[in-house]
Symmetry: D2
Subunit: 397 residues, 4 copies
């Protein structure tokens, strides 16, 4: 181990989940404890292999979990439910039970707009930021990374304040206005607390230009948006491969079936609009085709399993036709959780190295990458590796 | 157009198909004529887009077709059959009929081992080489690229002469011995004729070490082996993507259904062994998994359509399981033909630039790339682009 | 051949297509001519095998085609388009060209509500009925069967006149009212002309109770509704099989991709509502599950090919889970056309035997069978065979 | 409840599993205990619904389990293994633990040919029969049904004694000969013990003509062979449906992936031959097509999950093509176990009613039905229901 990683090793890092009691956050918490305790290998974590493994990222064992949620169902209860549904192995929860209880003890009430009458959003954000700062101080953490894992919100109606930091700050101070959706109030709290930030959801979060500017001013690295975990990831693997062969995608049709918490949320036609938008944006960019019908159906009996079918119709040589169909089946939260741990490690690393504002090289993790137009998963993997090596090299004396 | 490409433009290049009356060669010939005549766009050709398009490769319109075959069924008849089976559009054959007839007029009898009693393989190879040289001279071609598209042969039994050029030359001169399989006699003929060479089949061809050495000595570029067109290509797109995510492939099971000439050939358990070997080699290298059952079934009613089903079983976070199934359906020859044209253009370009011996950067096109251990399709695409840009830059004054 | 069938043989029967220039009607017309002319076997026709073949149905060669349409694009043009799209073999259209032209010469202007200002619907229906009667007389037909193959209409808004024959007749006479959708005006015209009638579409047609009553009074047999040709047929094959095994369907999710005329029509959210309703009704009846999300997407590049994916999630022994996925791909009109010919033959047979009103035993052909609650395809096949044998036995002296 | 069922209710019935410690037998034993104890509904049991439920079959709670096996791994251990692999829910094993232990206490050593040097097969069969008789007497059982659930054997080499009961008995008495495979020695033991018998495997079992004759003489009902549980069942649902539509199957290609004990057994090319034979026989009978390539691959990481892919290529109207693909995924033993319980109940019922010899109406349960050529699953379901109603009606006073 070189000096740089030794120095990092000594430091402890906080992960602050917005939506800490949800399926993904709970799975990440169980998994982190299992990996740190050597009860499970870090399969599915990008950062477990080279060049990440020796770049000086914080160790899994040095990560401490806390967060906000608006639900009273504890992480432990949620984890038990995930065991019953067959997603998490019973022995793993047994082995990590205490760590999960400790994490849940660090969960504070989140921002539920309907219950915060009377306060300005500035006051709410300060309360949330104070939770983060207190967490950091009590645990002696070098830094905290906030990861938004809360329920997907409907698309936000744009107002001028979303573009202009000064106007935004004025509006935030007005107790009569609620200029930001909840996800963006949480993002603003991260800015106030000086915490790095990742948006794993399609909600507005830190993505509003005024907030991105504030983050850059405050010197924190941010990354988003909407975790690219299953079907969309597969599409951004396949679509560039067709292009490299000179083959022309005519249509790319898809259906998603899922149950669980996310399935229920996305059964709401409003919420699903955010998701469908981020899911097709990349595909259209990669293929040039506009025929991309896509559905997300709530199928409660599937539980947390997501099944996705894609039908790709391609034109080949001399007008001949190729069809590719893919069927993908996976526990959605099991795909997301290791990437969430990767993001926490990488953003802590970036923060330590003084990186500020959107990090385009983290586009690998997102359906709708901030600061980048690259959707090609293989190109993103190369860019991510180069970036880590570059930053690690600069960090070394 | 820059000077380099202008210079190339003036030159005409020959493509010499071994197996010229087969499905792939016939489709390539129809397609070349249709592209050259602007009746079809070059969809499916890698070299039609940048950085290839402006690198100074020979133009489609400057390619001239000839070849060897042991069948008396003409390319025109074969093309008509492909029209009837629904693979080629009637209007395209109508538009290219004369060009196909011209190409077939350049087809000479190939080497059918059972009918060449009395001659040494040296004599046979010289006859084949003379056919190529005569073709080159009659058409005033700057160079010829030989592409092996003949029926897949069973795996060859190794003998010491395959490793040792001097010993090989001695054995070739002996009329009592048949030390090489037919595909390798054709490859040796390419060496004698000073023609660049590509092996699109899993047969031995130029792949025997003694022949590769002779090709390098003669200063010709060679590339192989076994065209990576459908299911295997898809696997080398997907497998590295799983690896980049830190996901662990447990098993990768596959089935291929196909009819047509290739289906009938591969119904022979001997011939299919060559194919199954090249198809799984890359996969095992990419995934580390040995559980890769694979079948190729002859289903005559499918004609030239190949249907391939893959079932991939993957371990994810905390021991969870992911399954991906893919079903691929395409006219096999329509996938192969444009890549054959690409190889002809790229090897002519390499030959013009003085490249000699196996070209590892052409690994993109092959299941079992000569001179390279890289199977990752995205990495191969990047390597191919860089190589073309590098060679083109050197070629410019 | 027995006496009964000999008698029928002598008679000629008319098929009158509403939507005669559409894809299904044109395909049925080409196919009928090809079968009658022995250029194609009657593959896909239920009535070509026993016990139907010897029951005394009218022969294919004794069927004469005419119809209504509101489009000016002739059947010949439509057929040429279907040849170009790869659906119909060129040699078949060549062989049937004259027959198709003859049929198109029997096509009369249909009822386009927007262009019939001033007339009462009674007057329109009389005009349509006169077209049918004239067709019957000019060709000396024993009887005519009207088959509705026109574009799917949006669901109809119910009014009291739809339930009450007397009230309906009064409303029809009022030039200021348009109490019926176009499909039901055509159905009423069949009643006026004394023609048997089948509704192959989900449109209201003869399905309104007042019209069904009029048909019964007039002594004509009627059958409907919405042809059960592909995915829905498959579902009614599979769902009863699960039930027979004591297995419990939890959810049945489906997606349809199609282009062509029907794809464009169903891209209209109003029209698709009729279709989605008939498609899920049977499934819910057969499985008891309400989780049956279903989509129909317009994917123009697929042309007349319909691709349907179903995901069935089933509970088995001790709470274990079974999944069945099906992918179906077929030219939709090629599935429908032979069944349309079957219906014409069977309804002519029924008419000859004096059957009147809805024929529940023809439920085999429909997504939403009139006069029956049976959706099980195997049970419907048995019922159909028994019915034909029973009626044929009665017909014999 | 009527008198007949009341009378049966009083009686207790034995199930004697050959291969009692295997996956299917263990699952059936756990499930029987769970159903009898009302911890699970009888989902997947055909006999749980009408007309079976009220026909007077023995109740689940009146069935007692014993059997033969050659393995020392107890049913309890096997069940624990099935819990760990995720197939059986932990709570179900907890609830049935004692019942499983009781059943395992009734397991006696089976016939392992390699360890029975010196004895004649007659002596072995008498020992096995004595185990069954003792079981029946100790538990006061009205009757016993033997179900062969042991590992699949390679196809047997035919000898004249297999056809001729007298010659067979002579050969059995000869200690120097082993004229029967193990499965048939077990079947002969059932004859000696006067027990009804079902062959759930493709092994010879009672299927040899000489044994079938002995069974008929002894007055016991027998049924076989090779449980029709998953892919084959699906095929016999679908193939008749295509036929009823007049559609012509051109080819039906299939692949099975499975791990578990059966996967390992079938990895042996000899054993798999028995299986492949029974699997395609019915399909060829139903479709008339000979192009039915089929593979069974051992994929250990799938455990007891069987994944089966089928590709059906069908000719429709005017030579058009239809493709249907099915992917089936299920825990194989969970499909088999409820049918095994059904067979035990139905054969006990048949035995009580004096039925003797092969029962063709039980063909519903088998890939290769004894005494019947019917493979159509829907027709078999109808025949089964009628038979039960008929026998039940005769049984009533
Ligand atoms: N593969 C994946 O799982 C995946 C991929 C991409 C994006 N996502 C996104 O990740 C998010 C989490 O998914 P999940 O399956 O864990 O969902 P979930 O419904 O299980 O959890 C969401 C949690 O957020 C909490 N929450 C809601 N509003 C909040 C607020 N204002 N403040 C704090 N907490 C709040 C909820 O109480 C709940 O505990 C979703 O937005 C989902 O779309 C998931
Ligand atoms: N997608 C693809 O189509 C694909 C992909 C990879 C490799 N390939 C390989 O390409 C080759 C051609 O495939 P195809 O579908 O055109 O097969 P094909 O059977 O249609 O054609 C093979 C031709 O080779 C000729 N031939 C046989 N022996 C010869 C000899 N000794 N000398 C000269 N000609 C000879 C035959 O007469 C025939 O015309 C096969 O080896 C196949 O495995 C094809
Ligand atoms: N497998 C199948 O193809 C299938 C299955 C079930 C139902 N259907 C139904 O069959 C119908 C025909 O399908 P298609 O693919 O041939 O559609 P299409 O769009 O090709 O043809 C419909 C025809 O109806 C004509 N039309 C429209 N309104 C009319 C009117 N008022 N009077 C007379 N003609 C009129 C149109 O001009 C057109 O020629 C559709 O309603 C479809 O939903 C088809
Ligand atoms: N869906 C299904 O599971 C299914 C369907 C059809 C047929 N089958 C057949 O059912 C049988 C059981 O399947 P399984 O998955 O339980 O297999 P398994 O390998 O788990 O069990 C077989 C058992 O038979 C025992 N055995 C072997 N030889 C014996 C002998 N001579 N006497 C007594 N016991 C013996 C073994 O020790 C083992 O315990 C197999 O033949 C299989 O092909 C299963
Ligand atoms: Na009905
Ligand atoms: Na039989």
């Amino acid at each position: 181990m070189n000096d740089a990683s030794a120095r990092h090793h000594a430091e402890r890092t906080g992960i602050w989940f917005v939506g800490a009691r949800g399926s993904v956050a709970t799975t990440a918490t169980v998994g982190l404890a299992a990996i740190a305790g050597a009860q499970a290998p870090p399969t599915g974590c990008v950062t477990a292999r080279e060049p990440f493994a020796s770049a000086g990222l914080p160790e899994f064992a040095d990560l401490v979990v806390g967060g906000h949620d608006i639900s009273a169902v504890t992480m432990t209860k949620r984890a038990e439910h995930l065991v019953e549904s067959g997603m998490i192995a019973p022995r793993l929860l047994a082995a990590t039970h205490d760590a999960v209880e400790r994490a849940d003890a660090e969960v504070r009430p989140g921002y539920a707009p309907d219950h915060e009458e009377g306060s300005s959003q500035q006051q709410v954000a300060e309360r949330l930021a104070a939770d983060i700062t207190s967490f950091q101080e009590r645990h002696g953490l070098a830094r905290v990374v906030v990861v938004d894992l809360s329920s997907t919100e409907p698309p936000v109606t744009p107002v001028p304040e979303h573009e202009d930091p000064a106007a935004l700050l004025t509006a935030l101070a007005d107790p009569g206005r609620a200029v930001l959706p909840a996800s963006s109030v949480s993002a603003y709290a991260a800015v106030l607390a000086g915490a790095a930030y990742a948006s794993f959801t399609p909600s507005a979060g830190m993505g509003l230009p005024a907030l991105t500017a504030l983050a850059r001013d405050r010197g924190i690295p941010v990354a988003g948006q909407d975790g690219k975990t299953g079907q969309t990831w597969l599409r951004t693997v396949l679509a560039p491969a067709f292009a490299a062969r000179g083959l022309k995608v005519l249509s790319w049709s898809g259906t998603n079936l899922l149950g669980g918490g996310d399935g229920a949320t996305l059964a709401d036609p409003d919420a699903v609009r955010s998701k469908l938008a981020t899911k097709t944006r990349g595909l259209t960019a990669l293929t040039g085709s506009d025929t991309t019908p896509l559905h997300i159906d709530n199928v409660p009996d599937l539980g947390d399993v997501k099944v996705a079918w894609d039908h790709v119709h391609v034109e080949g040589f001399l007008g001949s036709r190729i069809t590719l169909q893919t069927t993908w089946s996976a526990h959605d939260s099991m795909l997301a959780a290791p990437l969430v741990l990767d993001l926490a490690r990488l953003l802590a690393f970036a923060h330590g190295a003084g990186v500020s504002g959107p990090v385009p090289e983290l586009g690998f993790f997102f359906k709708d990458p901030w600061g980048s137009d690259v959707h090609d998963a293989a190109a993103q993997a190369v860019a991510l590796e180069s970036w880590v090596q570059r930053v690690a090299a600069q960090a070394r004396p």
